[in-house]
């Protein structure tokens, strides 16, 4: 299994996707932090240094989790797209082991990526806040950091699973966006908030929000719910992958 994971990392390192994702995450982090701090207090924005403002600055998990979801999709559906899946299964005919290796790769990459980008976010935010006279962040930074790390890892798993289920990169990414933005955020959260908080996006919001959780799940419960979703969808993907014919 270690060899298979090492090979998956080698595959990631030898294509531009991971570097593009890193560059994009870096660019969006810098842009988001600077605009949120520099525009704080403007009409329609939270006051500088407030819980809402800091929470917004540190909500980089939205970017990293989506990037990791795309990377996860590339790990599985990308192989179908380029027909490299045949070579992969010639090398390791036991498909379950291949999928497990991809899940481990996505989880580790997601966790490291999520933690590093959050660290970068913080490293940019702290001196800019200090320059603006804000020397104390009124949020539990460690909890947010941990939440973002877990969120990004879980979205990596979900990406791998969705890619394995759809075998189509575009379909997987669109399906994920439609589910999160339209079904969960657009429909279920406003209409059935008590049920929606148990869904993946609801749990993700709970993990990365520093403001009063109110009707949302606690970070601990949200972590369990998100891990449960990632595990369940991965299990379904595994069963489907083992049973169906290769294309």
């Amino acid at each position: 299994m270690t060899t298979l994971v090492r090979i998956e990392f080698l595959k990631l390192r030898t294509t531009p996707a991971v570097y593009v994702a890193l560059a994009l995450a870096f660019f969006l982090t810098v842009t988001s932090v600077l605009t949120t701090i520099l525009l704080a207090g403007q009409p329609g924005t939270a006051p500088l240094g407030s819980v809402e403002n800091v929470s917004h600055v540190l909500a980089i998990g939205v970017v990293t989790s989506f990037s990791m979801l795309v990377l996860g999709v590339m790990l599985t559906a990308g192989e179908d797209r380029h027909r490299t899946n045949l070579a992969t299964y010639l090398a390791e005919p036991r498909r379950g082991r291949v999928l497990l290796a991809k899940l481990v790769t996505a989880a580790v990459t997601g966790a490291v990526g999520g933690a590093v980008v959050f660290g970068l976010d913080l490293a940019i935010a702290l001196p800019v806040y200090a320059a603006k006279g804000v020397h104390h962040l009124p949020v539990d930074v460690l909890s947010l950091w941990t939440g973002t790390t877990l969120l990004t890892a879980c979205f990596g798993l979900l990406g791998v699973a969705l890619g394995a289920l759809t075998r189509n990169t575009v379909a997987a990414i669109i399906a994920a966006l439609v589910w999160a933005v339209v079904i969960e955020i657009g429909v279920l959260q406003p209409l059935f908030p008590s049920a929606a908080k148990w869904l993946p996006t609801g749990a993700a919001v709970s993990l990365t929000t520093a403001t009063d959780h109110g009707a949302m799940l606690s970070p601990g419960a949200a972590a369990l719910v998100l891990v449960g979703w990632a595990a369940a969808v991965s299990l379904v993907a595994s069963r489907v992958t083992l049973r169906r014919e290769l294309r």
Binding site: I7, K11, R83, L86, A87, L90, A91, E245, L246
Partner: protein, 297 residues
């Protein structure tokens, strides 16, 4: 022991029978061609052999073991199917991945790049490769693990004449060194030049298996042109041949070799202006085998 063995291998896709009880052997030290029309079951057989698809019944083995049971499959079998390459990955990085999968040292990458003459393009993106270069990279991928068995689906596709000659020589050398070569091809003239054995399938059924040389003489036929065609036709018919008139002075003869026809002509003093075997090219033999299979089924 055969390098590759198919035993009563069957596979259905819904209502379609892709393969129906295929039994055949592919021996080490020989280049064996796998012939059949599109949809005849060649690719299905190869996918079943390589564990990419599961049979409904029967078994396909390599050196007596199923592919999925081989401990290091890439070190036992090198396969070139229609697998693709990541277009943004360089050739050398692609082969590094294969080397890691096969569990062989990194220097094998340089060796196989040299072998297929891709060293100058090693660091180029595969997306910019020509079809022929991709074929050579696919062959390099198959060879990284230094396998004893090669399974190649249409290996001559996209190769220029020089590439075909190189490939042909390579496969010959590989087989002469004791390796097993099992290749499918629709370029029958190439098969005639490259293969020792041929397995012919049609609509999932085995049609014929044996040496290419025997395959070429399974349908003897001779075309003869003679100013004494009438007399020659009678003579040949008396000697048991079936004679068909194809022109004022020309005959098609089956059931007799060119030697037989020549001797008959000499015996009666007939003047022969043309005498050659017909249906001894693989295309004709192949078409005839398929025709006979269809007639009997």
């Amino acid at each position: 022991m055969p390098g590759i063995a198919f035993r009563q291998l069957s596979k259905r896709y819904g209502a379609i029978t892709a393969l129906d009880g295929l039994t055949a052997d592919v021996m080490p030290g020989r280049v064996t061609a796998f012939l059949g029309h599109n949809g005849s079951g060649k690719t299905t057989s190869m996918r079943l052999l390589l564990g990419l698809s599961a049979p409904d019944s029967g078994v396909a083995t390599i050196g007596g073991e199923r592919y999925v049971d081989l401990p290091h499959p890439l070190r036992r079998v090198g396969a070139v199917l229609d697998q693709g390459f990541h277009p943004n990955r360089s050739a050398v990085n692609h082969l590094r991945i294969v080397a890691a999968q096969a569990g062989v040292p990194r220097y094998r990458v340089e060796e196989v790049l040299d072998l297929v003459e891709l060293t100058p393009a090693a660091r180029r993106r595969v997306g910019g490769f020509s079809l022929g270069m991709r074929q050579r990279l696919a062959l390099a991928s198959a060879l990284v693990g230094d396998p004893a068995v090669l399974v190649l689906d249409e290996p001559f596709n996209g190769l220029d004449p020089a590439g075909i000659a190189t490939m042909r020589a390579f496969l010959r050398r590989f087989a002469d060194d004791g390796g097993t070569v099992f290749l499918s091809s629709h370029l029958l003239s190439e098969v005639a030049h490259s293969a020792d054995e041929a397995i012919v399938i049609h609509r999932g059924h085995l049609v014929s298996a044996g040496p290419v040389s025997e395959l070429s003489t399974t349908t003897p036929g001779v075309a003869v042109t003679s100013v004494d065609a009438d007399l020659l036709a009678v003579t040949l018919a008396r000697r048991g041949a079936v004679v068909e008139r194809t022109g004022p002075h020309s005959l098609d003869v089956t059931g007799a070799s060119t030697d037989d026809v020549g001797r008959a002509a000499a015996d009666i003093g007939a003047v022969v202006t043309d005498l050659h075997a017909i249906a001894d090219d693989l295309e004709s033999v192949f078409a005839d085998l398929i025709h006979r299979q269809e007639a009997t089924s």
